[in-house]
């Protein structure tokens, strides 16, 4: 009780000491931080200690209040507390307003709502198309490479075939020569008399 009475009786002095200590600590920090500029890790450590100082000061003030039942006359701490209380009230009021007004606030107008941009549509079509293609046997139906001489001709089952630049035999029509009342000779549809006259390379003759 004696100590508490002493604390109550020297509130102004205690507040002055804490204020001076705070100012000195700030000055020390400023000097040390400048000197530690070339040592970033040390500077970071000092900064972290400095960051605690307001909380330490406030903690001491609150401890004093708890022990003695009276407030220390600390303008800095009081101002900070008042500012925190003001901000807290403002935040609560804003949240209350928002909750109250939310149903009445019109939805923001989206000018693109309901519209499909051509690029998006094309991209979608492309993606869907590619998925469709991927679900198929995703390979062109090219004949096997045969090593034939490019642009040579041959007959196969009455159809004319042509050797492509990639040395594949490709059918150059979709009906056999017989549909033209012709016969296939050396990779060409010819009249039957022509075929009878000569070239014995029907259905062959081209490698």
């Amino acid at each position: 009780m004696h100590t508490i009475d002493w604390l109550r009786g020297h509130a102004a002095e205690i507040a002055l000491v804490l204020s001076v200590a705070t100012v000195v600590a700030r000055l020390l920090y400023a000097l040390v931080a400048r000197r530690l500029g070339a040592h970033p890790r040390l500077r970071a450590a000092v900064e972290s200690l400095a960051a605690w100082s307001p909380d330490v000061l406030r903690g001491l003030v609150q401890l004093y209040r708890a022990v003695t039942g009276v407030d220390l006359p600390m303008p800095l701490v009081d101002a900070r507390d008042a500012e925190i209380a003001r901000l807290r009230d403002a935040l609560a009021a804003a949240q209350g307003d928002r909750l109250t007004l939310r149903p009445q606030v019109p939805a923001p107008i989206d000018p693109q709502r309901g519209a499909v941009r051509p690029a998006v549509l094309l991209a979608s079509v492309f993606v869907v198309g590619m998925l469709g293609v991927a679900s198929l046997r995703c390979r062109a139906n090219l004949p096997a490479v045969s090593g034939c001489t490019p642009y040579a001709r041959r007959c196969v089952n009455g159809y004319t075939e042509l050797c492509s630049g990639s040395q594949r035999w490709e059918r150059d029509g979709d009906v056999p020569c017989a549909r033209l009342e012709q016969v296939c000779v050396a990779g060409a549809c010819v009249d039957p008399p022509d075929a009878a006259a000569g070239d014995a390379s029907a259905d062959g003759g081209a490698r």
Binding site: N141, Y151, L162, D174, V175, A188, D191
Partner: protein, 217 residues
């Protein structure tokens, strides 16, 4: 003495070829009835997607003609979108529809998915199948006008960047078309189903429109 093919005859020929190869032909000059027109307007106002599709078709019709195989259809069905240029004359209409229906026939033969994969992934197959389609178109034009079966004009078209063909692919197309040209010189159609069907239809329904004598079935 031949007479000129009429547009009605050209449309009948086109409808015949389309029916044989699962094609639906969209002709930009055919006006839908008021009810259909109003329905399309309503749909386009209802959905921006429908509007985009209608606009896309309209855009396609301003350029070249196209055949679009419809994925998942078996046998393959194709949508033939004719350009306005293609339908400007009866001969142009007949030649273009025949060209596009040859693509439709390729879709039926290969399958709707595979023909799409082939066209997209292989320049060799793209070049070959375009050469076949050009061959049919050139043949129908030759049959109706007596103009030469023009290999060089077809190759010039195939060499355009639109097809993205390499030198080998164009050379394959040239040899294909050159082989067909030899047949046409001898009064035979190219060995392509649509060419035969077009010749048969014209001989039967519009023989007076054939501009070259000596064609046999």
């Amino acid at each position: 003495m031949s007479t000129t093919l009429t547009l009605d005859q050209a449309r009948l020929l086109g409808a015949h070829l389309a029916s044989l190869h699962g094609c639906t032909v969209l002709d930009p000059t055919e006006q839908p009835g008021e009810a259909i027109s109003a329905a399309i307007d309503g749909l386009t106002n209802l959905s921006p997607v429908v509007r985009l599709l209608v606009d896309a078709i309209d855009s396609l019709q301003r350029g070249a003609s196209h055949t679009l195989p419809i994925p998942g259809t078996s046998p393959c069905r194709s949508l033939v979108i004719l350009s306005r240029d293609a339908v400007a004359t009866p001969v142009g209409y007949a030649a273009t529809v025949a060209h596009e229906c040859q693509h439709g026939a390729q879709g039926v033969a290969e399958g709707s998915g595979q023909v799409l994969v082939d066209y997209l992934l292989s320049t060799e197959l793209r070049g070959l199948r375009e050469a076949q389609a050009y061959s049919v178109g050139a043949f129908v034009r030759h049959l109706l006008t007596g103009d030469p079966f023009d290999v060089d004009a077809a190759i010039a078209s195939l060499s355009s960047p639109m097809y993205g063909l390499g030198a080998d692919d164009i050379e394959l197309a040239r040899h294909t078309l050159a082989g067909h040209a030899v047949l046409v010189d001898r009064r035979r159609p190219p060995p392509l189903s649509v060419a035969l069907e077009a010749r048969d239809w014209l001989v039967e329904h519009a023989p007076e429109a054939i501009g070259v004598a000596g064609w046999v079935r």
